[in-house]
Symmetry: D2
């Protein structure tokens, strides 16, 4: 089968992956499943993997097939698989989890101690077929795999952060969404669906802000034209925002926290381009937190699929062939992808 693989870390997105012919995977455990990939989302994290940014955090062996936002049809199952069948359409949670460690037992399976992450630690879904496990599969009834693939990672990451923010929101509160891209436009909708907060979308691009506006943002701020902190202060009557979802995570966006987060509130770190530099005293004085966020739980992916099926979540995607994959990488690097790119092998 064909697969888009990384052979060495590089800054050159335009030639990063090569299309190789490799063997189709097969189940080696009773709970394995093989999925024929119908859609696989391209993620900013793929760019970061290509640059070698994850080598300090997870074990990687090159060459490796990238692609961790996968959906398609089950074509083969291990001999004790009971919850999906050959022929089922599925969206794949990015982690293959063990179901036995304490994190899995608590439902925090994104912290599985024995997990594999296809596309990050093993071969992923920019290929004709993907090997994963029963525990990763969410069955799709009413949505086609190619339309929903990016929710496998972009979606649940944004939804996971939104779900952590929602308990702190109330009618009359304010929520800031920094960065209305692939993740941010999902986070905004998740916040809207699950709370009655007032939303403020911040981005450098007018197109992104138009999208935010169409998706129900109450206020939009172009960070190139306006002083973000001052504008938020004006909108919130000096109180600040109870929750900030930072889908950029750059030095400049994390530095906004002391000025824009309400006392006791949270600045969620979801994007991870840059650094936090902040005096401890600032966190003490405002009693705010920098809250780390990673990909969501399996049950959160189920919930997100429910939102999609009930029509409360719109996903902006464009489809590309496997042969166009390096162009996609380069375009995203230059901020030229609207919404989310989906590779259709």
């Amino acid at each position: 089968m064909q697969a888009a693989r990384l052979h060495e870390y590089t800054e050159e997105m335009g030639e990063a992956l090569s299309i190789d012919e490799i063997d189709r995977p097969s189940p080696t455990r009773s709970d394995h499943i093989v999925v024929e990939v119908e859609g696989a989302g391209w993620c900013q994290t793929d760019n970061h993997i290509i640059e070698g940014m994850w080598t300090d955090y997870v074990p990687q062996e090159l060459p490796m097939t990238l692609g961790h936002e996968n959906a398609g049809e089950v074509v083969e199952v291990g001999d004790e698989v009971s919850t999906v069948d050959v022929g089922d359409k599925v969206l794949c949670h990015p982690l293959m989890t063990c179901g036995q460690c304490r994190a899995c037992r608590l439902g925090d399976d994104m912290h599985c101690e024995n997990g594999e992450f296809p596309g990050l630690s093993t071969d992923g879904g920019f290929a004709d077929y993907l090997l994963t496990s029963e525990r990763a599969a969410v069955k799709l009834d009413d949505v086609s795999p190619v339309e929903i693939a990016p929710h496998a990672d972009a979606g649940i990451t944004a939804y996971h952060a939104a779900k952590k923010a929602v308990p702190h929101l109330f009618p009359g509160s304010h929520t800031v969404i920094i960065g209305v891209g692939g993740l941010g436009h999902i986070g905004l909708q998740a916040i809207n669906a699950m709370s009655a907060t007032t939303t403020i979308a911040v981005d450098l691009k007018d197109d992104a802000l138009s999208l935010a506006d169409r998706l129900g943002a109450d206020h939009t701020i172009n960070s190139g034209d306006e002083d973000v902190a001052e504008t938020i202060e004006a909108i919130t009557d000096g109180a600040g925002a109870e929750q900030v979802l930072d889908f950029v995570g750059a030095d400049g966006t994390t530095a906004l926290a002391p000025d824009i987060v309400a006392p006791g509130g949270d600045h969620h770190i979801i994007g991870y381009g840059g650094d936090i530099h902040e005096p401890s005293q600032a966190l003490v004085n405002g009693e705010f937190s920098f809250v780390g966020n990673i990909v969501g739980k399996y049950t959160e992916l189920q919930e997100l699929v429910s939102l999609v099926e009930s029509g409360e979540m719109h996903l902006e995607t464009t489809q590309y062939g496997l042969g166009e994959i390096n162009d996609v990488a380069e375009s995203l690097e230059h901020g030229e992808i609207e919404g989310r790119a989906v590779i259709v092998p």
Copy 2:
């Protein structure tokens, strides 16, 4: 009456405050009370105020009487005060809160929008008498004011952080206490009283670690002699600590977070000597948070007094006269105060 007052910001602790003769305060509102100070704790924050570190955060007019950990006897009350009487012994919450703003209405009165903070924004308790309000007073039944005064700020700050940590603790979890000084030794006991976690105390001084040991710490680490991250990794079997209470807040202690906090855990910032410098990616990868902490709620001060009265909270104090106050300031600056210093006017 006599009062220890700051006339100008300085790095010279040994001559920072002068003992002035000023007028005794009187109630100007129906809810005001005047307390004859029997004990007033000296706090690291007093050193920070003297250095001018709070001028960016709260309005201050010099000269100002310091002292925000106050306890004593009520000697005069405004004409609608109903919950305390002349003659009552009271511990004073550091904030005079309005009771009307949303933060007060929610019980988060430490974020009162109209609060005054005697000793930080108005005249405090290093004096014969203190003006505060009915809403600040916690009545004492079985404890003497001088023995409990430091709980007014050191105590509830440590207790407040502990109470935020406790819901994340469970038998088998680990909690790290960094810095077993005035606040840390209270935090350790609060954690022990309210959870069945395994505690790990970290300090540079063997005396502090001996105190931690006596107060029930399960493990102690001398950060001068041992590699803190490695030792915690060994104790926790590689899992990290679910909660870290950082009573130091220096560059070096906040930098430990990625290595010692368990996935999904919190690094609480309570001390505030230094800065946080951390890549956003570290917070994403470990899904940990830097959680800001400020002084606690009025109801938390009530709870802390309950802990003291039931014998589950031991406070290490040494008493000093008002005339020794600059010596206390200097000794604390050099880390030479064991437990907590209490000024007895």
Copy 3:
């Protein structure tokens, strides 16, 4: 001034109250305010008060002016009132709370140990003027008092229960609303505004179910025509509803719990016409709870006003003069009031 007063407990709604001429109230404390009543909602609880159902629970002295859902214009203030002024339009939280007891300090002011409840324990708002306190007043900017009055009790009671239910809801969950009357139609909208659950409205009357449908209920069940438990089982695929809001509280509705509540879920008791009779084993086996609900918090009334001002909450009301008040009582007793009746003195 004129006031509709109860002189003796009776089952005869049609002659329950008499319109008396009594003195206009005046402030006797520094935090009192006098409100000229523009609208006062009639509540099922008013019928229950008339029947004497509250004599076991709160102290009452007859004659007493009823009316606990009050809104109007401030016409006089005590001398330390600072958050409202003469001329302000306000919605009155039904409780005059002390702001000093532990419940008030925690934000659970509906459990104030020293509270007065005008219309239940002291003279209420079916009169030209009402005496209440600053802490009860929520300022209105964009809504007229007469349109919003019933939210003072019906509204926050329904909102309070909804807010307790919301943390347990998620996309894909189910919520049952039993009784789509004055409270139920508010509860349904609050659930919709603050969650992405699937709602199932249950009522005996088709008109009520039509209203539910217009307000966004996903399913409606006429309990006269259909087997409620079976229908809910079918809708939820055998899983039951995570949360049930029972605005009726009759023997027959509470008895539904074991069959309709999902494992670990809650059956909220808000209406209180009848009794619970249930084997302890049923609660053990299904691990469900009967959750009591009373009127909401002051901050919840603020949040509800925000929902109204942002257009997410529609209130069904009909206006009546003070002279028609006994007809209203009788009509409600016979279930002939659509939405909520508002008395306009």
Copy 4:
């Protein structure tokens, strides 16, 4: 092998079970394990099963081996078992859970949609060998199986209820433990280990109250001698108890709720001998809840084992041979078992 089996439902405890010779079980799935039973606790629920009280709630086929509090040594494992080995000592969670349904995925595995409950729905542990699954096994390092067996059900049920109560407790709060028997004496210790609440133990027997006293209860009430509601009112200064753990669940104990539960508090139903009869209005007026409780989660069993291993949990047990099992049943029926009976096959 030998097994104590129920052939027909009966009220006659003294002859309820017969010791039969049956085949030793073997793994039929890759995750099955066989445990040589070293200890199996006898539970009040065994009496209820014998009486037929569970036939309405779970499918049962007689004859069936009872025994759901099992511990022993692993003697055989299915071919994909990875977390326990032959020779390991284990405590068995009572449920064999699927690990795939939403409840399991959330960590609420006690609500597993596909679970088997050996001793309740399939053959249990009053036998030489028990068939269960890897997901049920908690490895024991420092404790012998026979000493810890009752924690498998009595223990985690009590711990589970305690863990639901703890977030509502604070220093100065009150917790009532009704019934200091097999479950109650564990619940009391769990509350003490995880909170700083004041505990009040209620029982009919002085021996049980002596045990409560030794285990740290702050107050004890003999319900035969004293008016329980009045005594609790006096102890709590009229406020009531924030949390009540009712390990009896009789008509008389559930009827205490309106008088002993503080506003907003919970009356936990854990024992299930009788019924709840209560006007809805009582739950509304006091805003209290009747909270159902079932057996705990797998992770809670891990936590409980941690408590045991750290010496914070003492279990009162007496050992009996398999041949004495009907005597045990009869003695418990007459309330003559102190602590917990453990059958040693």
